[in-house]
Subunit: 171 residues, 2 copies
DNA sequence: ATATGATGGATTGTACACAACTTAGTTGTA
DNA sequence: TACAACTAAGTTGTGTACAATCCATCATAT
């Protein structure tokens, strides 16, 4: 289960298959599945707090530091305003955050926590251990996996743009 | 950068912080970022083929085996019909797949490839190496990372349901 | 002071992703 | 046959996610 890249040499009846195009050889597919599987793990637990998964990540960021401008929050979470604006409005509607124009710079919107938002943190403290236990078996596991993921992430987020010429102009 | 779980002991002015709730200690956050970063990598390359990232994964599955029912394709990709139905309709509109009711079981819809769909495969063969090179530096890297991801994925997808009592009834 | 350019958010449009529900067809049982 | 239970897809509604675009505001340079 460790040394082979190729997978099966052909896929039976249908088509000639390059190992490179086998679905199970795509790291991106594994990551997509992992992302959704984690989402599934968090959903019931977060549902009890009235949060979705991305909303939870936004709250984590705000529990670390608030208030924060929408732009800075977006950098922290790697989300753009098109995603963040409606998400934050829903958190505001839920009474967890405030959104106020900055006094100094009227372009900027500061996102702060309400009392309810701060209180919610206490109800969230057990979530990482609940969910974490099904990701990493031990603390060593956790550290190893975190290191591995961070390393890959650095490569992918900071990789240079695609090698110039694509099949056609990318629009 | 390898042995510490805690992260910084506090986050400055704002709040008392448990290491467990630090955003950067959440494996789920790393996975979410990785998922989006990979999406960003694939987008321009796949855009040239007229595919989105999930559509590409669906095509990979169909290039391995076609025709396949919507249900089986969903199992393969871990997607439900609510996601797959419109996605497949778009692929049909794009002229890449066919959707026909199964003769034997009228409930089932068989998804097949058109000539254009089969032809597209040739234009996709270089994609894994383009994108793969920014995920894993070497073949050894690839194999190691794939093993690691598969292991985590098994744990998360097959973990038992949450430990009975959540803060409140889950709805 | 006014034009120029850059910046921060919001908005719009397209595309996943999932829950809940509906519809249609199949199977099991009496 | 009749009918309940089940199954496979589709549909609807909510919530991300991102590109493209718009708008107000700030910085600056003339």
């Amino acid at each position: 289960m460790t040394g082979e890249v190729a997978g099966r040499a052909d896929a039976g009846v249908a088509a000639p298959i390059d190992a490179a195009l086998l679905l199970d050889n795509q790291l991106c597919f594994l990551v997509a599945r992992l992302h959704r599987a984690l989402n599934d793990r968090y959903r019931p637990v977060l549902g009890a707090l009235g949060l979705t998964y991305p909303q939870y990540l936004a709250m984590l960021a705000l529990w670390e530091q608030a208030p924060m401008s929408v732009g800075r929050l977006g950098e922290r979470l790697r989300l753009d305003s098109g995603t963040l604006s409606p998400l934050l409005k829903r958190l505001e509607t839920a009474g967890l955050v405030t959104r106020t124009r900055s006094a100094g710079d009227e372009r900027s919107v500061e996102v702060g926590l309400t009392d309810a938002g701060r209180t919610l943190r206490a109800e969230a403290v057990d979530i990482p251990s609940w969910v974490g236990s099904c990701i990493a078996g031990s603390l060593d596991d956790f550290v190893r996996v975190r290191g591995e993921l961070t390393e890959i992430l650095d490569r992918v987020e900071n990789a240079p743009p695609p090698p110039v010429a694509l099949p056609g102009p990318v629009r």
